[in-house]
């Protein structure tokens, strides 16, 4: 295959923001996660933990709590508003002002009819959930001091509220305060959980997990788990297990078991401690098989409980999701430019000349004017056109590099978008790798392509649909596959569509013949190599070689791969990662041992791999260590042998 010049770029200072809250919907197996910048992410736990939806955040909208009600997702934040999200169109559907000051917590009853929020002014406000909106119903008895945490008893009659120094229990019907459990000294009850046997479990800023009898208001048991705060609690659905996240970065598990073998009576016993975070654990979810945690260190960690899953399988492996499952980098192949997308600005850089070691930057920041963050962005191959989208609009700019300037060419609201973008594409052959919206069709997938003047691809969850872009007529629909597509591209010369799915399957579909290509059929017949399928990060980008049409270049977080379609596919017994072996073989022997998947693992934490027109590769890395070094100091550092 030969030598490649690689531009190894590490100056993309992408920094994900801290995880603030999460909510797990066990029916749909979706995890909703919200970050400190207000961005909402939906992970599909049923489909390889793929990050399938992202709603960018907005300045000044700090979400404090999330709550699923059936398929509907509500959030509340310190701006005092309750928001329901439109998960189809990936934008907030509406917001409702609660008029109680900053909202600390949100929760719903089990029946899904009522929503309650805990406010700074000491009120618990109840909202009725209607079909299209929510409506304020009433306030519970107002307390002195803010309501930090809330938990509804499964019967729906009682509500436990964690406050400063105390836990109060309200009658949900009458709104009258029933009991309170005074704490001895100044503590914040960060989290409460009301179990069906009327046990209340609280986690507080004194580092204690306490178990109370909710009927009598007496303390049953205190577990001191940390010197710092216990920030969040999560109870498994069957109420047999409880996890608590602390400021030290640990997650402590308690189980409701009998502490000795012969003892009949069961109690909450501290069992396991997980240390997967360096910083505060701010959000927790207890799924049936795993502990899901996230916090200040920005990583989402899925730690399977080994007594619930089969050992030594892919399912039992711990996952750390540190980088987004979509491309934040766009490469202009002809001009050798890189577009970096940050939440609130974009940067364009030029890669260096062949001998240079210093990066050459041509700069350029654009800022959104609406305080909403970027959703998607793209740069045309010639580097002249830059387009981006936010939650509400798409904008197109023209870049001039001799004396750097940027001119706004067009701006469209979502309804105007299709016509507008088509005209741009026709004239500039611009690839816009961005989200589009048509009146009745939601286009929210990152890999939506506008290809020349012919076609656009739309992928809605698992369905990939092709539209002719001039008149927006349906061209064809690719057969539905059970797993989400993670990367899509159309070959510029052969018009083959390449789709890579979250389960690592690769399909090639001929848009001319409207059927899977021969190579794709062969690949499906033979099956992918088991090591390929075992990789745990999705392919986030597919591109092609302009020189050799048989080459497909794709990458995930830990490798990039050039698939040479002219070579035989690796069989199950052959070595998949065979580059080292081939290197040691004499040249004549190599052909016999080589196969289609040329995998290079030299690079780590890859955010983009692209092939420039001069056949040199651009690899954008974002080393995790660099990201870790930007975090504030943790409250507790692990010292050797402590």
């Amino acid at each position: 295959m030969g030598e490649f010049k690689v531009h190894r770029v590490r100056f993309f200072d992408y920094m994900p923001s801290a995880i603030r809250a999460m909510a797990f919907n066990s029916h749909t197996e979706r995890l909703a996660l919200v970050r400190a910048d207000g961005a909402l992410e939906i992970f599909n736990f049923a489909d390889h933990y793929f990050q399938e939806k992202v709603i960018p955040g907005q300045d000044g909208r700090a979400v404090e709590a999330l709550c699923w009600v059936g398929q509907r997702l509500f959030s509340a934040g310190l701006n005092g508003e309750i928001t329901e999200y439109d998960l189809e169109n990936l934008r907030p559907r509406y917001t409702v002002e609660a008029y109680g000051g900053p909202i600390w917590t949100i929760g719903s009853n089990k029946q899904g009819t009522l929503l309650m929020v805990g406010c700074e002014d000491g009120t618990v406000k109840m909202f009725e959930i209607l079909k299209e909106r929510i409506q304020f119903q009433r306030n519970l008895e107002r307390q002195k001091g803010r309501i930090v945490s809330l938990s509804w008893h499964p019967s729906g009659t009682l509500i436990a509220a964690g406050m400063m120094d105390m836990i109060r229990i309200f009658n949900a019907e009458t709104g009258k305060e029933m009991q309170h459990d005074p704490e001895s000294r100044e503590v914040v009850v960060w989290s409460v959980a009301f179990l069906s046997d009327y046990t209340i479990i609280s986690g507080d800023s004194a580092g204690k997990v306490q178990i109370w009898d909710g009927l009598t208001g007496t303390l049953v048991r205190t577990h001191l788990v940390t010197k710092w705060d216990v920030l969040c609690l999560s109870v498994s659905q069957d109420e047999s297990s409880l996890i608590a996240g602390t400021s030290e970065g640990t997650v402590v598990q308690f189980q409701f078991i009998s502490s000795t073998v012969d003892q009949q009576e069961e109690e909450w016993v501290r069992t396991r401690t997980f240390k997967n975070h360096s910083h505060d654990v701010r959000a927790l979810a207890h799924t049936e098989t795993a502990v899901v945690s996230g916090g200040m260190d920005t990583q989402l960690v899925v730690r399977p409980l080994l007594d619930k899953v089969e050992k030594n399988t892919q399912e039992s492996a711990m996952r750390k999701i540190a980088l987004p499952h979509r491309s934040l980098v766009c490469c202009a192949k002809k001009a050798g430019l890189l577009l970096f997308q940050f939440p609130d600005h974009l940067e364009v850089w030029r890669v260096g000349e062949s001998d240079g070691h210093g990066e050459e930057n041509t700069h350029t920041h654009t800022h959104t004017h609406t305080h909403t963050h970027y959703a998607y962005s793209a740069l045309s191959p010639c580097g002249e056109w830059l387009a981006y989208s936010t939650v509400s609009s798409v904008r197109l700019y023209r870049l001039q590099y001799n004396n750097i300037s940027i001119t706004k060419v067009g701006c469209s609201t979502l309804t105007l978008l299709p016509l507008f973008s088509v005209s741009v594409i026709v004239h500039t052959a611009l690839f816009i790798n961005t989200i589009k919206c048509m009146s009745e069709l939601a286009l929210f997938f990152s890999s939506s392509y506008f290809q020349l003047d012919k076609l656009s691809i739309v992928a809605i969850e698992t369905t990939v649909t092709i539209y002719g872009s001039v008149c927006l007529q349906l061209h064809c629909t690719v057969p539905i596959y059970s797993s989400c597509p993670t990367a899509i591209a159309i070959h510029p010369t052969t018009s083959h569509l390449v789709v890579v799915h979250a389960d690592q399957q690769i399909f090639e579909y001929s848009l001319v013949q409207k059927e899977y290509t021969e190579w794709s059929r062969k690949l499906q017949k033979q099956g992918l190599h088991s090591l390929w399928l075992e990789r745990d990060t999705p392919v986030t980008h597919v591109t092609f070689s302009l020189k050799n049409p048989a080459h497909i270049i794709l990458h995930d977080m830990f490798m990039f791969c050039i698939i040479d379609q002219s070579l035989p596919l690796p069989e199950s017994k052959t070595l998949l990662y065979n580059q080292m072996t081939l290197r040691s073989l004499p040249e004549q022997e190599r052909i016999r041992h080589s196969h289609a998947f040329k995998i290079c693992k030299n690079f780590k934490h890859v955010m983009c791999v692209s092939l420039l027109e001069d056949h040199s590769l651009v690899v954008v890395e974002r080393p995790l260590l660099d990201m870790m070094s930007q975090l504030p100091a943790p409250v507790r550092q692990k010292k050797f042998a402590t």
Binding site: M1, H7, F11, S594
Partner: protein, 670 residues
């Protein structure tokens, strides 16, 4: 270290009229290592059993006849061969009583020697250099014998050697002051002639000794000026140009022996093994001018390994058979067993001293010395200022000899101080040794005479060693001059274990007497308590730092009394505890032994006295403690062993290249 053991007399001698002749013509090995044939210079041959020191049989030729060559024993035929009156070869067996009735044959030319090696055939060397095998000679006794040597050339010494199943006759000749070496190979016969390099005019070698090793013949020869040279001839390169021009024979100076006044007259050097040479008739370096010494020198390290004074006149004759030296002296022939263990630097110098860097040597002045402790600084000898002035060695020697041997203490001190301040110390090395040994011998002879500061000054020059004046340390011990002892232990690289042990004994004993007072003064912190005073600690440390070798030290250590052993062990234990607690033991002002040295000494003392200690009740706690040390050491080592692998991995770990923000790299995909 090589050693000479107590000798015994094999027989009396009847010296010739001139007194320069011992009356012994030669000694040859007989059937085994315990039998020798001694041929006297006149008429008789005697067979001795050496260990019994008695003659087994004796043969004599008739009055008027003389034996002109030492008798040899042919072990193949069990016959003796001797030559009488230069031309008559006599052969007889053990059971023959009368030599006259034995076989004889007259040859046509004068015989120089008959040589026979055990298992080899007898070889006859004629005076004119021709060589014949005895058998072939006897088949035609009157056969003509060619002349090999030139007119005025005469054989001085000869031997034969078997090398790689080839028999060689080696002989040296002298012609007009030049010396030549002949190497005659038998079957096939070849002859090679070498010219020895000339020493000072008029000097020709006093003795030769040859040996064969590693395919080379090694020739050792001693000149009257005390130089011992070695020449090495390869056996392989022999042959070819027979009788051609004499080749120059390269030589290397092995030893420069001290000769005292004048030249050596009767002396001999004999190779014992590859590293040791026995020398007789050369003065002992520290015993004045007398030349009646038998010494063993190590040629690798140029050290004197053992010495023995031989009573009576030395004739410069020396034979060696199977670890016994045969030496005629006065009116006796003595047999002196010796031992030359395989020498290495460690055994020549003992256990290596702590490696001293230049810096440490300088720091030594801050080491508290015995004198400092007792008298403050005033007794500290001033280092002589080094000013260079060329003084003839000869004059200095003469002058000092005179003053040192007769002058009073103050004058000697002044003279020596003056000398040391005047000249470059390095040039004075031989003189310093001579001076020191003269002072020591005078002090030993005259109890009133002792010059501690002068001796200390001499030791401080670091040009002295124990071999040069072996009595110095013992003298210092005798005079209770512990400062000098300390200096000697510090600066002498070659103190024998016996002397080290004597010092140790003296140190332990003396401080026990004054020990109580010392304990009061000792400034050591209460935990752990030092069992000895500071003074003793300083001295004992010096002993611990001395080089030694286990096998030689062990027997001497056994002489310590159990009380002393317990005290010594207590001190060692104290040191061990102190150093294992303290990370930087070298921070103490004391010259302190390393942990390994301490442990070595503990092991050795325990080895020497274990049975006694087990029976001693007061040693019980000590032994228990020491046992726990051993256990802790074993544990430490095993723990270290465990992490060894990990540490090696660390070493192997590649330093990850810092990639930086942006770089252009080349990768190759296959």
């Amino acid at each position: 270290m090589a050693a000479l053991y107590e000798g015994y007399t094999l027989c009396g001698l009847v010296p010739g009229q001139t007194l320069t002749n011992s009356g012994i013509q030669g000694i040859e090995a007989e059937r085994d290592s315990d039998h020798v044939v001694v041929t006297d210079s006149t008429r008789s041959v005697t067979l001795y059993k050496v260990s019994d020191q008695k003659p087994l049989s004796s043969w004599t030729v008739k009055q008027g006849q003389t034996l002109t060559c030492p008798a040899v024993y042919n072990s193949q035929t069990e016959e003796y061969v001797v030559v009488s009156d230069n031309k008559v070869i006599r052969i007889w067996k053990d059971e023959d009583i009368l030599l006259d009735k034995a076989f004889k044959a007259t040859v046509s030319s004068d015989v120089w020697r008959v040589h026979c090696l055990p298992g080899g055939e007898p070889v006859v060397l004629f005076q004119r250099g021709a060589v014949r095998l005895l058998d072939s000679l006897l088949s035609a006794p009157q056969q003509p014998i060619e002349e090999v040597l030139a007119q005025e050339e005469a054989i001085r010494w000869s031997t034969n050697i078997v090398a790689d199943s080839q028999q060689f006759v080696i002989f040296t000749t002298e012609q007009k002051g030049d010396s030549f070496l002949y190497l005659h190979r038998l079957n096939p016969n070849t002859l090679q002639r070498y010219r020895l390099e000339r020493e000072e005019p008029g000097l020709s070698p006093l003795s030769f000794s040859a040996s064969y090793r590693d395919k080379h013949i090694c020739l050792l020869y001693l000149y009257p000026n005390g130089h011992v040279y070695q020449s090495v001839v390869s056996v392989r390169g022999l042959g070819g140009d027979e009788g051609a021009q004499a080749l120059p024979l390269p030589r290397s100076l092995l030893l420069g022996l001290p000769v005292g006044e004048g030249l050596l007259e009767a002396a001999s050097a004999q190779l014992l093994d590859e590293a040791h040479v026995a020398v007789v008739g050369v003065p002992h370096p520290s015993a004045g001018a007398g030349k009646d010494f038998l010494c063993i020198w190590n040629t690798n390290f140029q050290t004197l390994q053992a010495g023995k004074e031989m009573a009576g006149k030395i004739y410069g004759q020396l034979w060696t058979f199977s670890n016994k030296l045969f030496i005629p002296h006065g009116k006796t022939l003595s047999v002196i067993p010796y031992e030359c263990p395989k020498s290495s630097l460690a055994s020549a110098l003992g256990k290596l001293k702590q490696a001293k860097t230049e810096g440490e040597l300088k720091q030594m002045s801050c080491v508290p010395s015995w004198n400092n402790i007792l008298h403050g600084d005033k007794a500290q000898p001033s280092r002589p200022a080094e000013t260079r002035k060329t003084v003839s060695n000869f004059i200095k020697t003469k002058y000092l000899n005179f003053s040192v041997q007769t002058a009073p203490v103050e004058e000697v001190q002044r003279e020596v101080e003056g000398l040391l301040s005047r000249a470059d110390i390095q040039d004075l090395q031989p003189l310093v040794g001579q001076l020191a040994s003269m002072l020591v011998s005078r002090s030993l002879a005259d109890p009133a005479f002792y010059t501690p500061s002068t001796l200390a000054q001499l030791v401080h020059t670091q040009s002295l060693c124990h071999s040069v004046c072996p009595d110095l340390v013992l003298l210092a011990l005798e005079r209770r001059d512990f400062f000098l002892c300390q200096l000697c232990l510090q600066f002498f690289p070659d103190i024998p274990e016996a002397v080290t042990c004597a010092c140790l004994k003296a140190f332990i004993r003396v401080v026990i007497k004054t020990g109580e007072e010392d304990k009061e003064k000792s400034s050591t912190p209460p935990e752990p308590i030092c069992p000895v005073g500071l003074h003793k600690a300083v001295l004992l440390n010096e002993v611990l730092l001395t080089a030694y070798s286990d096998t030689f030290l062990l027997p001497h250590l056994k002489d310590l009394s159990s009380q002393h052993v317990v005290l010594f062990l207590q001190y060692l234990q104290f040191l061990y505890l102190k150093y294992s607690q303290d990370a930087s033991p070298q921070m103490h002002g004391l010259r302190s032994p390393s942990l390994t040295q301490i442990m070595d000494w503990v092991c050795m003392v325990l080895d020497a006295h274990f049975t006694v200690l087990v029976m001693t009740p007061e040693a019980k706690g000590l032994l228990v403690n020491l046992h726990s040390f051993v256990k802790s050491q074993v544990r430490l080592v095993s723990e270290l062993g465990k992490i060894e692998g990990s540490l090696q991995e660390l070493n192997k770990m590649k330093v990850k290249k810092d990639v930086g923000q942006y770089s252009i790299e080349i990768i190759e995909l296959f």
